[in-house]
Every structure is written in structure tokens, then in C-alpha cells.
Amino acid sequence: MAELAVEGLVHVYREGAVRALDGVDVRIGTGERVALIGQNGSGKTTLVRHLNGLLRPTEGRVTIDGIDAGSMTVAQLAARVGLVFQDPDRQVFSGTVRAEVEFGPRNLGHRGGELAAAVDAALQAVGLAGEERTNPYDLGQSRRKLLALASVLAMRTPVLVLDEPTTGQDARGVERVRAVVASASEEGRTVIAISHDMRFVAEAFDRVVVMRDGRVILDGSPAEVFAPASRETLRSTFLEPPWSATIGDRLGLGSTPTESSVVSALLDRGAAG
């Protein structure tokens, strides 16, 4: 559905300021699940804001299916790249949950049955079905965040970008977000998420891009990025691999970013021994 290519991207907010992005090259294929990690200020948010045109490159370019994003308006790009911001209170304004979710698809020109179906599916996915008529501000903070996710999900964009989707979520909330990521990816949509939750990153994504000071310093599968060999590079930007990876390293199991990979590595070793 959509292939993203970021080529030689440089962004400077003000003349003379530091380069928020300092030459980023990333290609992301259709249906990929990519986690973007790094400290605050490493350029993650600046990067994803180029994908839907909220920011324009100082140098370099972004293409979507080979078309230069610079030739499209933000409104046109919004139909291709849906971006969910971190703080739901920076977007919620409608009187009801349903109206809030309808806002995005309506802006894209969706109407009638198609709109209703998209909204229903999105609410179902985040567990807010049955709350259609609720005032969004009567929901708790964590459910309001899921509402913000639904409001972009319903736009059915080929690319979905999530900024810190698991912040403030409990175990069930994280599970819901993971399910949303998985099903969107199965539908062939590309999912890109910024996250600080390394376990979530290792378990829900098939590719991890690590940023520091406006550059990509690591890019690969969770097994590659969280491998013992990458540890020092991760540390240089204050990131710790998930516990499973640390344990796997300690036991000499190779790279085991998830619990299941530790288990299978141990089973393999048992079989071999």
C-alpha cells in the first residue's frame, strides 16, 4: 500500500540552531512494523512530523510510493499518513466519543456507511465500543488516550504513526495497543511507533530504528538492535535493552530480545546438550 523513503533528511528549526535531524536515511516497506527509539530530543518526533508534512525538510526529501511529500499539502498527506500524538488533551474537542472519532475521516471526505463502519471498527479495536455517546472528558486519561488512537485509526491511512502509545496504559491497555499494531500490520498498513517501553518494542515490532542527536545509529530487527554487540551503542544514548536480552547475554544465549526467544534458545541448548 505505501512505501516510505526518507533520503538525506536534515531539519533545522531556526537559522543557526542545532540540526534536529542531521542526515537521516530510512526506507520503510509496506506492512512493516517499525519502532523508533531514542531519548527525548534525539529527533524522533521531528522525523515523524516530516512523514505527514507538518514539518518540511531543510535538506533532503521524503517520498511516499515514490511521490515527493513536498508536492502534497498536509491535508493530502493526512489521507496517507495518520499520526497519533502523545497527549490526547491536545486534540480532543468533540462532545461525544463518536463525534471525536468521526472528525478525521470526515476531513478526508468519508461519509455514510463507510464512515460508520470505520468508526465502529476503530472503537471496537481500542475497547471503547459502547461509549459512543460519552463525553470524552468524562473518560479517564488512559482511555482518552485510546480514543485519540481510535480517532486516527478510523482514517484508515496506509501508514499509521504512533507517538508513545503505551504511556499511562496498564497491562491491558498495552495489550490493546499491541493488538492494534498487529492487526493494522496484517491489513497491510505500515505501523511506525515511537516508544520508550523496550519490552513493548521488542515484542510488538519487527524492526527497530535507534536515533541519537538527529541521526540513525542502529537499524535492524529487535534481535540485531538488542544484541550484545549493540549494547555499548545503546548505552551511549541511555537506553537499556529489555530484561530478556540482558539475561540472554548473561547466559550466553546470543540475542534474545523477547521472553519467547529466551525460552526457545534454552530449549535449543537443551536439545543440543
Partner: protein
């Protein structure tokens, strides 16, 4: 305690008498305006006198300060910022002949009460002129602080009377009656303003006039009025909420009072020039033959009711979108919630906060 009230009353009377003596003429066409301004000024002076006596007695302002619970106090800076940002944006950038600089004031009045509302309006205009740095600084804001205070006061009183409480699912009959009453009140206010302030100089829709400006202005007024009535009934029946009628009357009434108080200030201090879109209306009315005082009244009576009507509706929408529990915790919040709070039946061991 008694001394403060006596001093406040004395101050009110002194200023009122002084104002009448100085301004002199209270019998002319614009007597209502002068009355309103003098009364508003006297009200403020009385409040200041009350506060001064309390300060002399106790070295503080506890009796006034304690009316402001912490939540109201935290809301006030937000309200003031909303006033200033929207007000500056409308005046400097949009150049439309309304102000939209009292949303915060009316919001505080509605949620917290008349006195906090009045104080928010007053303080907002003072800060706007003295403390807020450019580009939001207001060059002509402080003299209108009195107007803002009265707006906040009125909003607080309307909300206290329950006028902003939602009434969803009102019956068609009550909507019709309520709507008719509201339109009647607005038309009466309009007629009052028209006969008092427009008939002498401004030939409303006079077919013999050849001045393009008058024709445009006349049709503009007709358009506003027709649009208002249509929009009003549409909204009333779409939302099926009788409160729409209450909000309309509250907005228009507040607007008329605001116009009465602000016009003399604008005319005498700034000759009707405040740098916003309203200046062009003043110019038009002067071209029609009004003197500067009359022109600012005519402009105010056109701009303010529209402005306050829009503002009251915006505030009503904000209140509707706010979380119920957030509203309920403000001093006047219970009066903004449909049906009020049904207190669950408690056993004896449940208790509230210590006094």
C-alpha cells in the same frame, strides 16, 4: 465588618452624586449610557473603598480573598490568557467588528460566581495593558476594565440563576414559547436601542438615500437580524434545549449593558479609535451624521450584543464539553449541571472535608 459596608455605600453615593454633577446632563437621548457608566464606576470605587477599609483594619484582604477557592484561582489565569490571546488575535489580525475578548471572563463568572467573574474581567484588562509583553499587549485595554468587570458580574448572576444549565429534550411546546419570549425580549431591546440611538441620524434602509455606505450598513443590520432569528430557531430545535433561549437573552442583555458602559469611554478617551475592526463601524456612523458620542453608541449597540451572544454560546459549548466532575467541583458548578447531583444514601460513617 459594618464599617466596611458603610464606607462602601458612602463611596458609591459620593461617586454617583459627583458623577451626575460633573457629567451634568442626564435628560438627553443618551442619559441611559451616562447612568450606566457612572453606576459602574461608583460600583468599582465602592469595592475599592471596602477593600481599603478592610486592609486598614486587618492588614489584608481576607474576606474578599477567601471567596476565591483555589480551583477558581487556578482557572483565572487560564481565563485571562484566553481573553488576551483571542482578543488580541481578533483585534489585530482578523479586523472583524466584534471583540471575543470576554470568553474567559464569562467562563469564570459561570463556574465560580459574579465576584470572581468581575475580578477576572477587571484584572485581565489591567494585566493586558501593563504586564503582558508584546505581541499581546493591549494599548487601550485598561480603561475598559470596568466594562469587563460588569460583564463578568452579569455572567455570574445569569449562571447563578440557572440560566446556563442544560435542558436537553425540552418539549416542542416549551421550545416554541421559550423561543418566542426570547425573540420578543431581543426585539424589544433592539427597538429600544433603535429609537434611542439610531432614528435621528441614521435613516435605516431609507430608500431615498444614495449613500452606498448606508445601504450596505442597513442591509448588514437586516442580515444580522434575520440570520440571528433563523439561526436561533434552528439551534433551538436541533439541540432541543431550551437553554439556547436563555443563553440568547443573557448574551444580548449583557451586550447592551456593555455597549452602554463602554461607548462613553471609547468616545471620550480614544475618540472611537481602538485599532480594531469596530473602528470602521464608528467611521460609517459618523459619516451618516452622528457625532462621536452617538457614533460609538451606535457601533457598540451593533457590535456588543452580537459579540456577547457569540461569546455566551461559546462558553455554553465549553461547559457542555467539560467533564461533569470537573464542573461540579467549582463553586457554582452545581448550577450548570442538569438535574443536579443525586446524593447517594450514606451510612453515618461517611463524612466530607473538615470545615
Amino acid at each position: 465588618m459594618l464599617v466596611r459596608w458603610v464606607v462602601a455605600l458612602a463611596a458609591f453615593l459620593i461617586i454617583a452624586v459627583l458623577g451626575i454633577t460633573v457629567v451634568g446632563d442626564f435628560t438627553g437621548d443618551q442619559a441611559g449610557n451616562s447612568w450606566a457608566l457612572v453606576a459602574a464606576i461608583a460600583l468599582i470605587v465602592a469595592f475599592v473603598a471596602y477593600a481599603a477599609v478592610e486592609y486598614m483594619q486587618t492588614g489584608g484582604f481576607a474576606s474578599i480573598g477567601s471567596q476565591f477557592d483555589m480551583r477558581t484561582l487556578v482557572l483565572m489565569p487560564i481565563a485571562i490568557a484566553v481573553n488576551i490571546i483571542l482578543g488580541a488575535a481578533v483585534a489585530n489580525a482578523l479586523k472583524i467588528p466584534i471583540y471575543l475578548d470576554s470568553i474567559g471572563t464569562i467562563l469564570v463568572g459561570a463556574l465560580a460566581g459574579p465576584i470572581p467573574g468581575a475580578l477576572t474581567g477587571f484584572v485581565a484588562n489591567i494585566l493586558w495593558q501593563y504586564i503582558i509583553p508584546p505581541p499581546f499587549q493591549g494599548t487601550v485595554a485598561a480603561p475598559f476594565a470596568i466594562v469587563a468587570a460588569v460583564i463578568g458580574l452579569m455572567a455570574g448572576l445569569f449562571a447563578r440563576a440557572g440560566w446556563l444549565r442544560p435542558r436537553p429534550g425540552s418539549s416542542g411546546q416549551s421550545l416554541l414559547i421559550g423561543g418566542a419570549v426570547a425573540v420578543a425580549i431581543v426585539v424589544l431591546l433592539g427597538l429600544y436601542a433603535y429609537t434611542r440611538f439610531y432614528t435621528e441620524t441614521f435613516e435605516f434602509l431609507n430608500p431615498e438615500t444614495d449613500n452606498l455606505l448606508f445601504i450596505i450598513l442597513g442591509w448588514l443590520i437586516v442580515a444580522i437580524f434575520v440570520g440571528f432569528v433563523l439561526g436561533f430557531f434552528a439551534l433551538l430545535f436541533v439541540r432541543r434545549d431550551l437553554t439556547v433561549a436563555y443563553v440568547t437573552v443573557a448574551g444580548v442583555a449583557t451586550g447592551v449593558v456593555a455597549a452602554l458602559i463602554s461607548a462613553p469611554i471609547s468616545a471620550n478617551l480614544f475618540s472611537g479609535v481602538t485599532g480594531s475592526g469596530t473602528d470602521f463601524l464608528v467611521a460609517a456612523f459618523r459619516q451618516a451624521g452622528s457625532d462621536i458620542n452617538t457614533a460609538t453608541f451606535q457601533q457598540g449597540l451593533l457590535s456588543d450584543p452580537v459579540d456577547k451572544l457569540v461569546t455566551f454560546f461559546v462558553v455554553y459549548l465549553i461547559l457542555a464539553a467539560m467533564a461533569r466532575r470537573t464542573k461540579a467541583r467549582f463553586p457554582q458548578g452545581e448550577r450548570l449541571i442538569e438535574g443536579g447531583e443525586a446524593a447517594a444514601d450514606d451510612g453515618g460513617e461517611w463524612r466530607g472535608a473538615p470545615a
